[in-house]
Amino acid sequence: MNNLLGLIIKEAMSVLVQPLPEVNPLQDSLRFARRVPPCAIVIFGASGDLSKRKLLPSLYRLFYERRISQNFAVIGSSRTPMSDDQFRERMKESVSKFLEDAPFDEDIWKSFAQCLFYVAGDLNDEASYEGLKKKLDEVEKSHQTAGNVLFYLSTQPSYYAEAIKKLGAHQLQKGNGWRRVIIEKPFGHDLNSARKLNDEIHQVLDESDVYRIDHYLGKETVQNILAFRFGNGIFEPLWNRRYVDNVQITAAESIGVEGRGGYYQEAGALRDMIQNHLSQVMATIAMEPPTVFDAANVRDERAKLLRAVRVVKPDDVAKYAVAGQYGPANVGGQDLPGFRQEKSVDPNAQTDTYAAVTFFIDNWRWADVPFYIRTGKRMPKRVTDIAIQFNAPPLGLFSQETKGGLREARPNLLVLRIQPEEGISLRFLSKSPGSGMRVRPVSMDFNYGSSFGERTPTAYETLLVDAMAGDPTLYTRQDMVDASWQIVQPILDVWGNTKFDFPNYAAGTWGPKASDEMLARQGHVWRVP
């Protein structure tokens, strides 16, 4: 079974990667790696966690695999005073520690380190930008970066607008080559602040130069949803309200806030996960096929889908959304603190560490099909997946075995596993061996790692290459961000004015009872991933 699904996915991928007409007559997309033009990458917030854990390890890996131009440079910038060499030494420690699924090579590092530079400075300080400009001029000459610059805002979100304004004031948004800006989430704190931020950005930059990163979209398995849906002929006919009973998207984390209590207290699960990552995943699952596989068309379809999501009325929020917060528990002999006992967290915090929402998509394909999305911290395990629950056959002819001895109401389930153990499984009924016609559910499994032996690039590797190559397909556009804020804003508003009786679920469980009740009202149950 692994074989068959493996083939389907491979074939789908080969259809989707059919190259668009090349302008370079010598291009050979079947064999040559995607080309990335020379450029300099400026990372604001270079001493932060994201740079250390994700950005630098990804850039090193791209360098190791020769997927970036020889003519490139990274300029780190943050308030901490450091020399180039000190910055290199710090990044070496981080890269060797956080490199995923790949070895660290001392010799390659030496070459890579020659491309790393550092400029100390405060984002509010005019002099920092002059220093940066000078450094960019230097590396343009020394590393022949052709004047192309990718700015990466990996700072506190409150600095985004100011940093972009100052880039404009110092004429850093234009130069000899292209200039692009990657902006990390959260993009705004709510609908109004997101719109305000957009306006401020557009005073300096064109929308085409703005790359709002949502690293979920860079995950291979999320991209594979498109291949699976639109590269195959057998699934899409079933992909609608006639055959699909409900869709469940789960993003569970087993860890708590891990030292990010201060940030998380202000954000919460709905803002941190559902407004961005999971609404984009839902859009990918439910969008219409684009007419052409390019950035504009794919993003148009995602945006269109998000605009079709029904905006819940304030009075209905309690019916369609559930907030939760974990309390202390003993898991596997270890005492785990509740959220309110975490470091830097207000002991009376009303933050949602769990959020579950029922969305309906008001279009012809999905009318009345509930899309259940849940995310939470301190859940039993780390898992992200999407389950498409198909309708039951019209008549139940066979008795079925299940763990609880109950008949499975809807035997056909397609699960797209985003992480870990990336893959796809399809559950269907099969006859149990022996006399009599007893059936039980079995699973047909495709495992990404076994059918594609090669190493899967991390989401940040994919997205950094895309930004350097000028491909925004996997980045979110202004209208997509706007639409996804619109669907969560009423919930945020109501929750903001509600005093919850938190904690309402114990660490190590699948969330509050109210969440199960939300599904029960529709005749559904959460599956256990």
Binding site: N3, L26, F32, Q70, D101
Partner: protein
């Protein structure tokens, strides 16, 4: 993990052997109480070889290829020293990906045949290919690809190729006319063909193509009217013909081949020019090539001959029709004529 010799090599017995293999791997799982083995397969890869090592090198390469291209690997070693007319053994190639607890395992079947009997292997192979997945035939049997191959070798090659989606050969041991004619013949039979001599060109082609990403140069591509290729052999090797074909076909440039001395065998220097610009790509040491343009700057690239595993890894990733190779082969034929 190996199993006993299966003789006579009946397909049913071989498949039974594979079944047993998986059962024994499953036993291990029972003891561990969790899934420890994952079976992987994306194609059937048949390798026929007449090398003196009785298929050892081919088996070794297959086991390396499995990591990136999981397959049911079938090594058909043709040797006069074979113990029996046709015998087989089955084994699993397993490895543990970095940081994972579960092993990934692929099936491998090793068949040895006496030269007179290897054409009888084809019906057996027909039963051993994995259903619904591509069948790739990598012919390392030098006798079978020769122009003057004996009847048995030709018949065997033909029968196995018939089962296959794609045939991969290495024409490095042939003269250019032989190689081109061999591939053309198979193409005419409607087979997808690939040549590792073409795959070896990727380190030459990629930097050259990269130059034309520059929009200004791209617009002037049609003005590049002369291509000179220097090589160490008396006559242009097939690599030189492919490279000439690929570079000159889109702009119909005039092609000049020239013998020269240099670093190692094969292509030494490529000069592609128009009235306005001259591009030189030259081996400047045993490990280095230098790309230079009269309109740009000089770049150096490390140059190492990729090993056969790397070549096959690249080639297996090109599952379907390869338009660039097709164009290069067609133009190579014209250049030879």
């Amino acid at each position: 993990m190996s199993s006993t010799i299966i003789f006579p090599a009946q397909p049913e017995q071989i498949l039974k052997g594979l079944g047993k293999l998986w059962t024994s791997l499953g036993e291990e799982e029972k003891h561990q109480g969790r899934p420890t083995v994952l079976r992987a397969c994306a194609m059937t890869l048949i390798v026929a070889t007449d090398e003196a090592d009785a298929g050892f090198a081919a088996s070794q390469t297959i086991s390396e290829l499995m990591h990136e291209h999981p397959a049911r690997g079938i090594v058909l070693a043709v040797s006069p020293d074979a113990e029996n007319d046709l015998q087989a053994r089955v084994l699993a190639q397993c490895w543990k990906p970095f940081g994972k607890a579960q092993q990934i395992c692929c099936e491998q079947i090793e068949i040895t045949a006496k030269p007179a009997n290897w054409q009888n292997a084809a019906p057996m192979l027909a039963a051993l290919t994995v259903a619904d997945l591509p069948v790739i035939f990598w012919c390392r049997h030098q006798g079978a690809v020769k122009e003057n191959a004996c009847f048995t070798d030709k018949a065997a090659m033909e029968a196995i190729a018939k089962l296959s989606t794609k045939v991969i050969v290495d024409t490095s041991g042939m003269t250019s006319p032989e190689g081109v004619s061999f591939l053309t013949k198979w193409q005419a039979k409607g087979k997808l063909v690939a040549d590792l001599e073409w795959t070896r060109l990727t380190p030459w082609r990629e930097p050259l193509a990269h130059l034309f990403d520059d929009a200004t140069r791209q617009n002037k591509f049609a003005t590049f009217d002369t291509l000179e290729i220097e090589h160490t052999e008396d006559n242009p090797p097939i690599q030189a013909l492919y490279l000439a074909g690929w570079l000159s076909a889109p702009c119909k440039a005039k092609v000049i081949f020239r013998k020269a001395t240099g670093f190692g065998p094969g292509i030494q220097r490529v000069n592609f020019r128009s009235d306005e610009e001259s591009i030189e790509f030259e081996r400047t040491s045993a490990e280095c090539v230098t790309l230079w343009s009269s309109a740009g700057r000089e770049r150096k690239y490390t140059f190492g001959q990729p090993n056969v595993t790397a070549l096959m890894t690249e080639e297996l990733a090109v599952a379907g029709f390869d338009p660039a190779f097709h164009m290069a082969l067609e133009r190579a034929r014209e250049l030879l004529a």
